[in-house]
């Protein structure tokens, strides 16, 4: 008899402990870091008085209030640890730049809106992304989420965001399966098909009809390879793929395979295309350097190669020399000579003391789209924001070009500039040689 009671008592205690623990966590959490959109900052003269009030209550203050500043929180969910950490940190910093710029402009104009950022780490895993986004939405009341890089992360939070009605603007997710209309997911990058075509056309434009592609065996790399292959073969070319598991520290076997495929297909008329990120790209180039065949063919790469991390002083000069030797040609997501792109690069370096990494312009644009959306909507109601993103983005000219979103909330047109690395004296430089015209699917050389 007593036995039965104790078993249920144990269960009851467990449940009470669970609730108490959760309640404690929830109470402690926000009280350490007060939710910002409930904080009203009153600026009077040079003095700033901050008082926390509920949204409906009226601010009463003895000081003469000149203007009430409304503060919105933009939540950044980026890959700050794990496999894509170097990527995620760049995106986050680019986004922070956008918010700083926006706040400076708003302050100058005296418009009573400010933006606050909260950064959370997704640990480069789907579950980590869910936890990060939940914390942003619930602990910090983020009006809009910017990030993450990985399509898996975006896919993992899609259900949650649709239910909570919070808009997410992703910088870099390219998965085709997320091309769904009427959801809360928006992407300032074109899905893989556009980039695949641009890459394919840039190879074709140089007269190659054979290509060997070494690519990351994950969502991004695989879809890009698929689209590349489709377009390249439609133009009468042949493509061989060498997939590799990303996040390893040894790619010798894969590079040897690549070399073998190139030799088989004829080094003179074959282009090597690398679909890699920064860390694996460095390893692959470092290994390919030692290979005779691969040192004497033309290389093409995606935009990740066109970053300072591949050049001295951040990387050994031998790798940069190799890139020059094989005339590595890379495309990046911006229209040629876009002043905003160069302004972005400059401001980034000024703010963070280092050069922007691959695709950082997309992180910058994603944050700007989020900011402009809130400003145009004038509210942080999720439904309204969702309907505002597409028209707002269409009006925005970003560092990565014009962000024309289709009905699914994905970028429909992407500008690509094709550039090649050269060595001038002791320094290495990327020069723009052509641009990709998405509407005609052609590559046009740049003439100055």
């Amino acid at each position: 008899m007593t036995k039965g009671i104790s078993s249920y008592a144990v269960a009851a205690v467990a449940v009470i402990m669970l609730l108490a623990g959760l309640g404690l966590g929830a109470l402690v959490g926000p009280s350490i870091s007060p939710p910002i959109n409930q904080t009203v900052t009153v600026t009077t003269g040079g003095q700033v008085v901050t008082s926390t009030v509920t949204q409906t209550s009226i601010v009463t203050t003895t000081l003469t209030a000149q203007a009430q500043t409304k503060e919105y929180t933009i939540g950044f969910a980026y890959e700050l640890t794990g496999a894509q950490a170097s990527f995620g940190n760049d995106m986050k910093d680019a986004g922070l730049l956008a918010v700083a710029e926006a706040n400076a402009l708003l302050e100058k104009s005296g418009y009573p809106v400010r933006f606050k950022t909260v950064v959370e780490d997704t640990a480069s895993t789907p579950e980590g992304t869910v936890r990060a986004v939940q914390s942003l939405v619930e602990n910090h009341r983020a009006s809009i989420i910017v990030g993450p890089i990985s399509s898996l992360g975006v896919a993992a939070v899609k259900g949650y965001l649709d239910q909570k009605q919070v808009v997410l603007v992703s910088c870099c997710s390219t998965a085709v399966t997320l091309k769904l209309p009427n959801d809360f997911i928006f992407r300032v990058i074109a899905s893989a098909d556009v980039q695949g075509k641009a890459l394919s056309r840039s190879v074709l434009a140089e007269g190659f009809r054979k290509a060997v592609v070494i690519y990351r065996a994950e969502a991004f790399g695989e879809s890009l390879f698929r689209e590349f292959k489709k377009d390249f073969e439609s133009a009468g070319g042949t493509v061989i793929g060498v997939p590799y598991q990303p996040d390893q520290s040894d790619y010798t076997a894969e590079v040897a395979k690549l070399s073998e495929e190139v030799r088989r297909s004829g080094p003179a008329e074959t282009a090597v295309v690398a679909v890699s990120f920064q860390t694996d790209g460095l390893l692959i180039l470092g290994e390919a350097r030692l290979d005779e065949t691969l040192s004497n063919v033309r290389w093409f790469g995606i935009n990740t190669f066109r970053v300072p991390a591949f050049l001295p002083p951040q990387a050994p000069a031998e790798i940069a020399d190799f890139m020059v030797k094989v005339s590595l040609t890379s495309s990046y997501t911006a229209p040629p000579n876009n002043p905003r792109y160069f302004a972005f690069l400059e401001s980034f370096e000024k703010m963070h003391g280092r050069k922007a990494g691959p695709q950082a312009e997309l992180g910058y644009d994603a944050a700007w789209v989020a900011i402009l959306t809130i400003l145009s909507a004038g509210t942080d109601a999720g439904q309204v924001l969702r309907d505002t993103v597409i028209p707002t983005a269409r009006k925005y000219m970003g560092a990565s070009g014009h962000i024309w979103m289709d009905e699914a909330g994905d970028r429909a047109i992407q500008d690509y500039t094709i550039s090649r690395i050269i060595k001038e004296g002791d320094s290495y430089k990327w020069i723009d040689i052509a641009f990709y015209d998405a509407s005609g699917n052609t590559v046009n050389p740049l003439t100055r």
Binding site: A217, P243, Q245, T252, A253, A256, L283, L290, A309
Partner: protein, 307 residues
């Protein structure tokens, strides 16, 4: 044929490095009965010592080897003194030691993460010194890393072997491996032996790390990434055999390079499946040949050992 030959050369190169990493794991397991997962982190520590000296002090690679050895050895000894010794005196089970080593590995790895982030070194950066091709045999590149690592592995192996059988300390180590209680009774200071074992195994891992970082890149996860191969190599040696571990390391890399190459060539198996190889080796070895291993793991009751 030439492809097979060149994959053999590649297997030899990374096999020698994995062998250096795995020997230490086998040493601590066989002598002290500590399954030290944190062993992989000593590789990372050595790698970062070498990376720092190369990139910020302008050292050539060969000069970074000794500092990496000593530094990693010291980190290993510290982890022994701070964690494993107190636990050992409590006579905890091998499993508890493994859990503790997992905690140690978390602490070391994320401390490195913190340092790298604070110093703004970047993740996945290539050190300034790179591998170079010294000469080619029939088109197969022979790199300077291979020419450095292979002799070092041979020298280290032979030295360690001689050390174990000729010197007093080596004999003590073997005595402790055979029967720790008996060793205590015969007047061996087990604690000194343990410190020495940790210094040597941590040092060897650090030494391997110094080369490994040049071969790959500087990232706090390089040790973790190598861990499965280290375990597989050690498993092939039955977790106790020191030459077995050596051969095991070569078998693992052989499977990852040559066997994978053959599978890819003849059966169209995607190279993306390469990381399966060490896992499959581990499973097959443990399922087919558990006898060599069960001797080590005597059936200890959990908690305090009745004695």
């Amino acid at each position: 044929m030439i492809e097979i030959a060149s994959s053999l050369v590649r297997a030899l190169q990374s096999g020698a490095l994995y062998a250096l990493m795995a020997i230490g794991l086998t040493l601590t397991l066989a002598i002290l009965k500590i399954p030290n997962i944190a062993h992989a982190e000593y590789v990372t520590v050595g790698g970062y010592v070498s990376f720092y000296l190369i990139n910020f002090a302008g050292f050539p690679l060969w000069q970074t080897v000794l500092p990496a050895f000593i530094f990693s050895g010291v980190v290993a000894v510290l982890s022994y003194l701070a964690v494993f010794r107190p636990l050992k005196t409590r006579k905890v089970s091998m499993f508890i030691l493994m859990v503790a080593s997992f905690a140690v590995s978390l602490i070391i790895r994320y401390s490195i993460y913190t340092i790298v982030a604070a110093a703004n070194w970047g993740f996945g950066v290539k050190p300034k010194v790179v591998t170079n091709v010294v000469f080619r045999i029939a088109g197969i590149p022979i790199t300077d890393i291979l020419l450095m690592v292979l002799p070092i592995t041979v020298v280290v192996t032979v030295t360690l072997y001689l050390f174990m059988i000729k010197t007093l300390q080596g004999k003590q180590m073997r005595a402790v491996a055979d029967d720790p209680d008996l060793a205590v009774v015969s007047g061996i200071n087990v604690d000194n032996v343990a410190v020495l074992t940790f210094f040597i195994s941590g040092g060897l891992a650090g030494l391997a790390g110094a080369f490994w970082v040049v071969f790959t890149h500087a990232h706090p996860d390089i040790g973790l990434e190598a861990l499965i191969r280290i375990i597989a190599a050690s498993a092939l040696g039955g977790f106790i055999s020191y030459p077995g571990t050596l051969i095991g390391a070569f078998i693992v890399t052989l499977a990852e390079n040559t066997v994978m190459d053959i599978l890819n060539r003849n059966f169209g198996l995607s190279l993306a499946l390469k990381p399966l190889m060490p896992m499959i080796i581990t499973i097959v070895i443990l399922v087919l040949r558990p006898a060599g291993i069960t001797g080590l793991f005597s059936r200890q009751p959990r908690g305090r050992v009745a004695r």
